[in-house]
Symmetry: D3
Subunit: 328 residues, 6 copies
């Protein structure tokens, strides 16, 4: 049951009127009443490509022990269409042992290749000129445990890049863009690159990604900015001699990258490099959020996305095509 990654029945590929035999993560379960007092189950199940409603009319007593939120279950049933949406009517379900489950199948993931992103990140480090800054970055990112966490961490719980490897995708995008603008404005590129690569570093401990994304206790009580500041300052302390001025300006970039106090920033940007890292982080997050909202709609018929509570508006979905009109 279930089977290899290659021939898996992804949620995005389900078709009405077919039988289904596949494993899915249970997102939520609701027990509702039928006539006579007996319950039926309405669950949401999914994998990394999307989510679908699952209904249980039979063996309710047994299956409600099986369908627990957060668990991955092997499901047998049929795909049907109601009210223009697909749903799965479940006949059987069986919990899979945790150790046999590959979480990566059940949580949304970056569309970009993490392997490629990781290489780009390392190239960005190699191209740093300042030997102190480059050494610090190597020391931090060459740690195997850090690499493991950083390659899979999401960048947020829901706003943008809220998927596996989202942190890596966001970090590489921000760093690439900001480095180019640092040159445009005549700033110190090494500081900007280091600030970008480390600005959300603490999120590897702030968020936990299993089959869903949740805050950790430390994430809520300490937060990613203080966590990364503590970690990076300890790493600086392990280096023989790291210039005090570079340390001060680098810590400032991290502490100021949320831009304004009301966004939880303990400092506001007081150097051009800190201003740039803040503004490109902001741009990349908002742009990703908007592009994700547009892409989230399966049908191209609708001119507008549903109201986005994150962006606090509807987004216009009619796109004029991308084009290329010059060398930059």
């Amino acid at each position: 049951m279930g089977g290899g990654h290659g021939k898996r029945s992804w949620v995005k590929d389900l078709r009405a009127g077919t039988d289904l035999e596949e494993s899915f993560a249970v997102r939520s379960v609701d027990i509702r009443q039928r006539r006579g007092g007996g319950p039926y189950l309405a669950a949401t199940i999914g994998d990394r490509t999307g989510e679908v409603t699952a209904l249980v009319w039979q063996n309710v007593d047994q299956l409600r022990e099986v369908l627990e939120p957060g668990r991955v279950v092997a499901v047998k049933g049929q795909v049907q269409r109601y009210n223009q949406q697909l749903q799965v009517v479940v006949r059987q379900a069986e919990a899979l042992p945790d150790e046999s489950v590959d979480d990566a199948l059940f949580v949304r993931s970056s569309a970009a290749d993490p392997e490629l992103l990781w290489k780009q990140l390392n190239t960005l480090i190699e191209e740093v000129n300042d030997p102190d800054v480059r050494q610090l970055l190597f020391r931090i990112f060459s740690d195997a445990e850090v690499e493991n966490l950083f390659r899979s961490a999401p960048a947020a719980r829901s706003m943008h890049h809220a998927f596996r490897s989202g942190l890596l995708e966001h970090t590489v995008s921000v760093t690439t863009v900001a480095r180019g603008l640092a040159r445009h404005y005549g700033l110190n590129q090494d500081l900007v690159v280091a600030g970008c690569l480390l600005h959300d570093f603490g999120k590897i401990w702030e968020l936990e990604i299993g089959t869903s994304i949740e805050y950790t206790d430390d994430g809520r009580l300490i937060g990613h900015i203080p966590m990364e500041t503590l970690f990076i300052d300890k790493k600086i302390g392990e280096l023989k001699k790291f210039p005090a001025e570079t340390r001060r300006q680098l810590l400032h970039i991290l502490l100021a990258h949320h831009g304004e106090y009301e966004f939880g920033s303990p400092r506001r940007p007081k150097t051009p490099e800190a201003l740039l890292v803040h503004m490109i982080d902001n741009l990349d997050s908002k742009m990703a959020g908007m592009l994700e909202a547009i892409a989230a709609q399966g049908s191209d018929d609708e001119a507008w996305t549903p109201y986005s509570r994150i962006l606090e508006r509807h987004i216009y979905r009619r796109r004029m095509p991308a084009n290329d009109n010059g060398d930059d």
Copy 2:
């Protein structure tokens, strides 16, 4: 008196203990009392390189007719140093006829060459792929009167780029940066380029630049966003057939480029292109404001700028040198 541009005594080059014979714009005049009830004059005079205090102890009755704010006057006097600042003690002053005054000498100007910026702007237009958009931009910018205004207009009265050709410098910078990012995010570059080139276009009528920068009546009552929207829509109407969708999305970029209602934006960005133009406009303005604040201090001794009311903070002036660490 006064003399050619080449051998002019610029304010930035004044030295204590020397005689002075040069023309300056009068920024403001204050009449103060001496013993016996007689007044003396304390004026601020300047040229495009800076400003200095001028004191009149003699011929006060005559010279206060001459030293009128906004006028350019030929001055004879001596440069002295008091309290770590230079001041000019004026012996004679004579109003220059308006027609003999080259305003450009007396108002701050872009450090960049307007000729070069204008060429860059035209190259940006030429590289637009969409023939309708390109034709519209040509039609607008090839008008001689528009060119004349656009080449000299400031981008603001005080915030950033508040000097001659500031609008041109800001426009070229925003367009160049945003076009590169449009490619990075897979957006329509032509819309982005047109939106950037036109986003502050109405400022050619909103601000008036003589020896100082002031708002016009239309600037205060109508504002640059409605003025440019009215003008550009009229230009679109003059073209044979301009696609309705392109018009809609272009007008939207202009109307949304201030980003949020509280910054006088009648719309908020609802397309990725509008979001990008808004955010790069914001970045370029804030970055210029910060870099101008750092550069405004003559001495490199002070680690911090004076409190900037525009940025609402002190800026750190100790710079790590610009460097170049890779190809973008």
Copy 3:
């Protein structure tokens, strides 16, 4: 089925325990599950007098093709009462062809007579003294297409006057009140009248009224203030010679009538006339919103309205009677 306007079974007149055979607009449809996996339908249907829940237990498969939101359908069924609310149990339903549907029956309408309001509007124009302003208003409102749109447009999607002819009712009320106050404060009444008549003019293109009220694409991307400014300035351009000062002050009123930036106003009022139009627009909108909230409750027993999200409070429904105590 359905039948003439005169003997129509309006939603507001439905009675429990009666059979029903009438046409209604479908507002929304929800498909819910019964035992055995079969669905039933819970829809909201309505006409211009109100809305009611409709339940479909039979022929579900067939009827869910028929009951599409936005469509008008002929319904056969029975009115029942559950939980102190009426509901319609539907036995049959048949879609009506679009061309046979009179939208006016299915969308809420102004309680005032549009014919009378339109006459009042024209009298307000005729009484304008300034010939330029009067000519402009005639030119705008005598256009047949404009009249058609303006007579039916709502003034909002949900806040106040959110019904057919709401724009006309709101416009006449604001203009009448503001003209009286212009006299009280010694202002220019012609400017005030023109500003009031045109302040929401762009809503004829911002909102679309079928069986419900929705924003248009232009409404969301451009907005009613820029749309009316573009249109009116074009009409001014068509007149032989319209005084520049009158144009400037009139456009200012339109651009400033939302009062503050945070309400999407690209300008803030800088003339007494603009201040007056803004404040009376605000008063009429809020007063209508409050009076509509009080009237929306069928029963006079309750001292308080439900919490109004628009007014952000409960409204007290115990009214002291209207009275008349002097001549104004």
Copy 4:
């Protein structure tokens, strides 16, 4: 010295090059240094028509005992013009005994006739239909001490109507306007009239008007809304039987007339009558503030007022003439 009201030399009528012998209120005094360490005095003196700078070069030691802020002094000197502004060079000055001073000459006053305003106020009371409300208003306003205070009190310290009888002028204007609108919207006019007449009543104890306007201790610690609520509820208690519902709705209007919590309103309007009183109070205050700012400029040459910190903007001074275009 000084002389009768009729032939008084008002500040607004001073002319350069003339001798002056008149009494003025001292607004402020600044002692500045001359060569040799001796001081001279720079004072601001004024009457109800305006203010002017006064300079003392002689008898400084003696005159600085005389020129105390708040005092009225008889002045001998000469009017001169410096820097486009008039100033008085004082030769002699003598304090006037408090009992001989008519404060009304030295504090700004309403341009309207307080006698006429008081009659209008009483007519508004007489035209109230509801006998309970009318009786309450009579009881309050027929008290001689109340009349005395209410006829002279200002409506504010600086925002609008900040002059003698300003409260009366503002109250009559608000009541007249709101009564008309109560009829327009079908509200209870008696409640509206009572709410308007009493909405700022507590200001008779909140502000103190001598030669200037200051807050009282009770004004700062208790405020006009609680003070008037305490007073009016006591007056209601003295009546035989005042309907509880009328009392509740009237007190609500007073407690809610600042509209929003952030303007010190302990309640927000929850009845249409309370909403109307709040909005017309707001309109009359802002309109008066704007019209006063426009009128404050002596010269009609300037298109814009100086920046008004109260209105947070410049006001456009070019007025289109008042006109009358219909019967209301």
Copy 5:
């Protein structure tokens, strides 16, 4: 059925799989559809220890007349567990006559003993030194009706201390704490004690506690601050001679105890005593809200409370034990 207080089946003690025969307050009722069009009922019932869902599958027509929100009913049924939550399947239900119902059983109550709190309050009054203040407090609290209301009133509808005797518990806690701090900061303890005891006094009329807590009409239209100010000032007026300065400062404390305008405070604290009362009121309210949120969760397994809309955050539930480390 139902039975004595001592052997009552409290909601907090219900166990799955047991029969139930007890009286409960009906909080809300929802009528839902079964197959065939027949309804079933889903109600929320509760007592002062909590709430539980009740389902009615039989005798629906009869029982929906019985189960009215706000009423107390005697219920027969069975307790079951679904989806990790208990629910009661109801077979019979019978309305209890109002006069036989002890409301105190059905509304949440203070965990502290009201008798003890009332004694503590009286001790606080007795220890007041200033005879005028003490006499005023005695006069107010010795009134039997006041005592009755004050002993049962809640301190809020939902934020904190939203239960029977909550006002008393909050008042004693605030007064005790603030009196200690008044000594620490060298303030007048009598004013602080009086201000604390009276700061929320008006809530005895603002809120109504039956089987639930609701605002009264006066509560919404006038509010507790004006109501208590009116009452206390009347009581002061009944005393022979109460010092004007004490009255002024005491009223100021009441009027300023919400601290900032935006929290409905007509005044802001301008004396140290008023500042202290405001800040300790705020502390006690927020601390109680947080401790109630932590305690509200039955299971100690969860590290975090559900999102609290009042505190706008999740609260960490892992407590380090209370300890005592010194004498204060």
Copy 6:
């Protein structure tokens, strides 16, 4: 000149008409013009008891080299009274060598005895029960350099406790008060005591106190919260085994003690202990600010303090006497 601490002429003791020979810190210098173009000097000089204006009419050229802001100078001159304020006319002034200056004489200091405060702080540490927490506090505060800095540091630059030893005074007050309230609310006193003692610890590096108080570079770029977090976490790391849960909750208190994001708090309080530390810090700061404002006025005649920009209000200065009315 100057002389011993005991017989020093403090600013607060200056009397008009006496000769003066004493040393003072120069706060600021302004050079102003006399007739003939020669300058005179107007300086502000002071010691820890206050400030006074000093005027130099003679030897200006020489003395303006001497009177440099920040320097301590020995002054000879005469005390005079002008415009109800004292001023010093300086005849001679001589710079004192830095090494001979006791800064403590020239900067404002706590009125409390630092020796006693330091003992109280140590007692608070000794009374901590939790051995891990106590050991951490000992380790931090027993360091001689820390003691030296902590005993002299101010708590702020201007808001409250802006004087020598202000940090110590504020810390002891907050800790004492919060420990008592931790017992009242049943919280963990050890966490509260540690959180209070360390909450502003980073200010020893954030502010620099010489003859005035200034921010350090690290203070502006990193801030006291991150600095103390980095330091304390390093100290925790040096201990053998510090419980992870205690570390997490202690760091949380430090990171959340500013309460809200907009006050630069990277976290908001999520435990009762963090809430308490935040609110008592806030109370102690505001109370000190208000009591300092009241005490700052030398004369008891005025009922109100000048407008305080920090508290954004005038404070009422009429105090009802402190009294003691019970045991807490």
